[in-house]
Amino acid sequence: MTAGGRRVTVYAKSTAVSGTPVRPGKTYPLSSLDHLMGRHTLHLVFYYRPGPTLDRDGLKESLSEVLSHYPAATGRLSRGEDGGWIVKCNDAGVRLLDARANVTLEEWLGSASAEEEMELAYWEPMGDDPSIWSPYYIQITEFEDKAFAIGLSCTHMHADPTCATLLVRAWADSHRRACIAYAPFLHPPAFLPRPDPRPSHPLLSLKSSSAPFASNSKMSSATFRFSDLAVKSLLADLQPDASPFSALAALFWSRIARAAGVPPGPGELTLVVDVRKRMHAPLPHGFYGNALHFSRARADLAAGVAHVVDELGRHVAGLPEDEVWAAAEWAHERRHRGEEAFQMYGPELTCFALDHLMAYGAAFEKEGEGGRPAHVSYRVGGAEGEGLVVVLPAAEEGAARTVMVTLPEEVAKTICRDDAILRYGPTVMFAGRV
């Protein structure tokens, strides 16, 4: 924590509109998977070093251009006839916040806490009237050395991390005057039930029927940046042909379980994976909306981390498509019964596989490496409980990864000092209470 006041000041709020008007009368219904995520919010921060074309007005111009491709993002939520949410594409725009930070980017990356990082992604929850509430909040923060941080907060009902990342990436493409690599694909019928639906989702059924988690401990967060060599050496230690995700997830799971005082033995971990490319008829990357699947992986923590790596790898690779459809059908049925959303991330320990994200390709400057983000952070709001581990890509290419953990305060403190993790020399950033 820093002494002597805030380092980030938000000084103006406006609305960014698309460059071309939306055809009147367009609506976009949220899918059942979207409705499931009603309790959560998403907060992304992209950090960029100073560059010749990086200035506030230019960024606002390219944002206007890119919003012409996202009529669903500039619309407003309203209740449909069946009581579910639909987006009225009325061209109202997204909220835009202007902010400045009185430090340089390097100082910030070195010293900012988790709570401070949240100041870079302004968020206002839905008030009484959804028709004047913007589901997206974009904050452009300028650092002292003309570096920029682009913060995007949105309701998880509209977008999952892949969707939100590709919006920023499309913005970067537009700023560079390149064509948009992963154009948004609005396809509401993507997760409609099959002709003979077989709805079933034991994990979510359990979650929805259990009592809401009463949190009495504060959550803390920390970011671990593992270099390419670190991950390679981790893999060499554990299981050379495993994926970096399995290795890191297994490592953190075993260390967190230990720190939380869970007795060694068979355990379960909730895994969240993006299913866009796991379907028989794969969805394009730019599919707008949620395409996440929650499942339970089992492994014996007492049998060693290598064993856990194997189990996780097998679980993720072997995810049957049937399960995804069953889950979608279960969600569909639940929505039609008119039941409210419940907490999806947690309260049990959850691990999110996001290392497929193309976040570091979102380069606002034309040439060379200078345009790529210096760092990208992801947080999920509403994930109280035993915690959330998110495995993300890193600025360095190859096997390098970033792991962001949100855990109960005591557990987080232990993890930040844990030898088994620190052995691989990660850079620890943005630690502290959220």
């Binding site: 103006a12 709020k13 406006s14 609305t15 960014a16 509109v17 698309s18 460059g19 071309t20 008007p21 939306v22 606002k60 111009e61 206007s64 251009e65 407003r76 009325n90 061209d91 109202a92 725009g93 009237d129 004047i132």
Partner: protein, 496 residues
């Protein structure tokens, strides 16, 4: 076809031909007189034969001195005639400011901001109703300062808007006409609501490094009709200074005038006024006549300020809570109608063909002497003008004028479409409308254009232009990227 309507149809056709015949007869009366006279003269000359003509000439006994005196007299009279004619004023070209897409204000965004800024739900409802019936489209633009929640009208932001709109328009004009800044002799700027020190004209002189002996004028506070006042001032100056170029800038700076209070009469400008500017190059140089687009024929100014009601009809004041705004009174349309009638009465004799003037005169005499109940004859201005540019002050203004002047929808199309695409840009709206007509390829050589502006005071000003060069499409202007989409049907009420 059934028998019953046929007589009406045939009688209206007959009436039309009668009217046409009357117009041709009266308007070309002199020609009709002259033709038989010339014919008789020609016949006489032929009959006389060349020898007789020479004998007639010799009998006049004109000697050298008398011939020289007559020649001298003719030359003298023609010189006096040519010298006392007013210098022709040419409109070389003009450029309108095209707002960027980032400043666009969709209806949904406007309403959302209104609900987030105003505490009184009645104000919100009122503005919604105005916007629904306004005739504006989804592409009108407000300056960046008005996009903030709440808007941030600082002086710096106002200057920034002024620089943005005015310099864009002038840069476009320089590109189109190739005029060098050092060649501009007269500069007239009109902007009603923003008047900093140094003035906007000084700002332009500073930016473009205009000459130190430039004659610059800055008109402020003169309302939405000030564009034509500036043209009138430039014209008068061009009569005094020969071989000169005049740059006229018409604009309205929206930033400082956001009204944050709750008085309904003052909320209208928030809903209707939008960003815009026009830069016009006038000249009296003879060589510009070859490439100029229009020639200024008449400017007629009518000021109804002597009447208290007209004077207070558009009034800037502070409301009970101390917020300043422009209050529009309820009898605005009635006053506008009266001002228009005054203006028409003055401009009618200058532009109407003799046929219409006679009809109007006889009806007037008849009403005074014979029977008061005769309907006053409204002269058909469609005979005097091919194109009409009516200030896009609001849908009501255009409707009222269309009714009063009996214009067809095609004649007011330019005004309605400008209101839809650009909103009420105040004094520069007439130039956007002219650009619309040119972009549609309707402007031909010899066409006459009537620009009518209304503004606070209450003033009604008219300018009449004659097109001296057919304007070919595509026209590079604010309509370049959207003209193919126009005209659009504008519904009476857009449900928000």
């Amino acid at each position: 076809m059934p028998a019953a309507p046929l007589p009406e149809f045939s009688s209206s056709v007959k009436l039309k031909y009668v009217k046409l015949g009357y117009q041709y007869l009266v308007n070309n009366f002199l020609t009709f007189l002259l033709v038989p006279f010339m014919a008789v003269l020609a016949v006489e000359l032929v009959r006389l034969g060349p020898d007789e003509i020479i004998t007639l000439w010799r009998s006049l006994h004109l000697d050298l001195v008398e011939i020289l005196c007559m020649a001298f007299l003719i030359v003298f009279v023609s010189t006096v005639y040519f010298m006392s004619r007013p210098r022709p004023v040419y409109l070389v070209d003009y450029a309108c400011f095209k707002p960027p897409n980032t400043c666009r204000v969709p209806f949904a965004t406007f309403m959302e901001h209104t609900r987030l800024i105003y505490s009184d739900p009645k104000s919100v409802q009122f503005q919604t109703r105005i916007l629904e019936r306004s005739g504006l489209g989804e592409e009108t633009c407000l300056p960046p300062a008005n996009h903030y929640i709440p808007p941030n009208p600082t002086m710096e932001a106002s200057r920034a808007e002024a620089q943005f709109v005015i310099f864009s328009a002038i840069d476009d004009l320089i590109k189109k006409t190739g005029v060098k800044p050092k060649d501009i002799d007269i500069l007239v700027v009109n902007c009603s609501l923003f008047s900093p020190t140094p003035s906007l004209s000084a700002m332009i002189v500073n930016k473009y490094k205009l000459r130190s002996n430039i004659r610059s004028f800055n008109l402020s506070g003169m309302g939405c009709s000030a564009g034509l006042l500036s043209i009138d001032l430039a014209r008068d100056l061009l009569q005094v200074h020969s071989n000169s170029n005049a740059l006229v800038i018409s604009t309205e700076i929206i930033t400082p005038n956001f009204y944050s209070g709750n008085q309904r009469a003052m909320l209208l400008p928030n809903c209707l006024f939008r960003m815009g500017a026009a830069a016009i190059l006038l000249s009296n140089r003879p060589r510009e006549a070859r490439r100029a687009k229009y020639r200024l024929v008449h400017v007629v100014r009518t000021h109804k300020g002597a009447d208290d009601r007209a004077y207070r009809c558009i009034y800037e004041e502070e409301d009970a809570e101390g917020y300043s705004g422009i209050s529009l009174s309820k009898d605005l349309m009635a006053i506008a109608g009266e001002a228009l009638k005054s203006n028409i009465t003055t401009i009618g004799p200058l532009v109407l063909p003799v046929s219409e003037q006679l009809l109007f005169f006889f009806t007037l005499v008849g009403r005074k002497l014979i029977n008061m109940k005769w309907k006053p004859y409204i002269p058909d201005f469609k005979l005097a003008f091919e194109h009409f540019c009516i200030h896009a002050g609001g849908r009501a203004v255009i409707d009222e004028l269309q009714k009063n002047l009996q214009l067809s929808p095609e004649h007011v199309e330019a005004s309605r479409m400008t209101l839809h695409r650009f909103g009420n840009t105040s004094s520069s709206s007439l130039w956007y409308e002219l650009s619309y007509i040119e972009s549609k390829g309707r402007m031909r050589r010899g066409d006459r254009v009537w620009q009518i502006g209304f503004g606070s005071g209450f003033k009604c000003n008219s300018a009449v232009w004659k097109c001296i060069r057919t304007i070919k499409t595509p026209v590079d202007g604010p309509w370049a990227d959207c003209i193919h989409r126009y005209p659009v049907h504008i519904p009476e009420v857009v449900k928000l």
